[in-house]
């Protein structure tokens, strides 16, 4: 699902309906259109959010794709634009272009076992995929979520994760790179949890999102337990500007991350992922 032509170039005005603090430097913004409905989107797609007077940044959608009343974006304040977005107050205006790009292959994954593997803020673009699966749970096989976080204090979506962990039709494991005295969960990188799932490689599809080096190691581990490169999908992040494959800022090998991605099948980019500084 691509943005309507007018939404491609012209930001539409949205109002910040709610600001949900997630972590010290990360918030989720609930955005309501100034008029009409929010556009439909596919899990894994992104919008260009415009902090008026400062600039635009590509931010993944992290809310429920079934909710047409609002858009949810989870923003980490790391640069001028994201800092401005993360600092918006309720009632403020923001420009939105989108949705853009290719999302997670939800239809192709139907009927299969699905493992979602997130690293840090990478859980945000995977959340709509999980919400779509839960709304359509009977049409998927075994579903597992593995989330790797930095520390117990930096666990993103703590409350939803706890809710998902309480479900019997979902396997959810959270691991942290560094524990503390109060943490009784897993410690270690998220890749370490993969063999413990004992996936059936004939039936499994994996969606992976996180820092690039984490995704590379995760893919290696998934291949080791028998998945084929065609069964793995990763969400890439690059410096996106036009968001429609014209400007070339986000080119990654032969792919434009904004248009061909951000979700790409692993076999398509495996070689490029191994190239230093690409």
């Amino acid at each position: 699902m691509s943005a309507a032509p007018e939404a491609t170039w012209v930001p539409r005005r949205y109002r910040v309906d709610a600001v949900r603090p997630e972590l010290n430097d990360t918030v989720s913004l609930e955005l309501a259109p100034a008029a009409g409905e929010a556009p439909a989107f596919e899990p894994g797609q992104f919008n260009m959010l415009y902090a008026f007077g400062i600039g635009e940044a590509a931010i993944s959608l992290s809310g429920d794709p079934a909710d047409r009343a609002r858009l949810v974006h989870t923003v980490r304040a790391v640069g001028p634009v994201s800092r401005a977005l993360a600092g918006l107050a309720v009632g403020a205006s923001v420009g939105v272009r989108g949705p853009f790009g290719a999302g997670w292959p939800m239809s192709a994954a139907r009927g299969r076992d699905l493992v979602l593997i997130a690293g840090g803020l990478g859980l945000a673009p995977l959340r709509p995929a999980l919400l779509r699966v839960l709304a359509d749970r009977a049409h998927y096989g075994r579903v597992a979520v593995l989330a790797g976080m930095r520390t117990p204090r930096e666990v993103l979506f703590r409350a939803p994760l706890a809710t998902w962990q309480g479900r019997t039709d979902l396997e959810v494991e959270v691991t942290v790179d560094r524990g503390d005295a109060d943490w009784s969960g897993h410690v270690g990188v998220v890749t370490h949890l993969i063999p413990q799932l004992e996936l059936d490689p004939r039936k499994a599809t994996a969606f992976v999102c996180g820092p690039e080096v984490m995704m590379r190691h995760t893919a290696e581990r998934l291949l080791t337990v028998g998945l084929e490169p065609t069964q793995l999908f990763v969400s890439m992040e690059r410096n996106m500007k036009c968001a429609i494959g014209l400007c070339g800022h986000c080119q990654f090998g032969s792919a434009f991350v904004c248009k061909d991605g951000p979700v790409l099948r692993f076999d398509r980019i495996a070689r490029a992922l191994a190239v230093r500084e690409l």
Partner: protein, 139 residues
């Protein structure tokens, strides 16, 4: 890892043991005469430093080998391993397995490949942990 990944060298050298949360499977510096393959539960590998609380380096779960130092002299554990949940393990008599491997290098080579796989996986994981990939990129 499954027990069969360690090959014939461990045949007949195993027993099932259960630990309660808080009990230690092994202690740093103690003789490494028995290692463990986890069947159920979670085990934390810990290190201690003076004037600091113990730090959990890694947690291990089903299919993980607890204890790698039994394969090489001086056969002493390098860290503590504590059960954080009720744990069931296959305990492997490391002393007998070493004797068998010394007597039959073919068995020893097969076993070493299994142990080395676990060691390499942990080394790779530690490298990734060291990169601290989830930190604020601007900090």
């Amino acid at each position: 890892m499954r027990l069969e990944d360690l090959g014939e060298a461990v045949a007949g050298c195993t027993r099932t043991v259960e630990y309660l949360p808080g009990e230690y499977l092994l202690r740093v510096g103690a003789p490494a005469d028995e290692c463990f393959l986890i069947e159920q539960g979670r085990v934390a590998l810990e290190v201690h430093a003076p004037a600091r609380p113990p730090e959990v380096l890694l947690t291990l779960g089903p299919g993980d080998l607890v204890g790698l130092s039994w394969i090489l002299p001086p056969y002493r554990w390098a860290c503590d391993a504590r059960a954080v949940q009720p744990v069931r393990v296959v305990a492997i008599d490391a002393r007998r397995v070493r004797e068998r491997c010394d007597a039959d290098p073919r068995l020893g080579y097969h076993l070493l490949q299994g142990v080395l796989r676990a060691a390499i996986d942990r080394l790779q994981a530690t490298r990734l942990q060291h990169l601290d990939v989830y930190r604020d990129p601007t900090s």
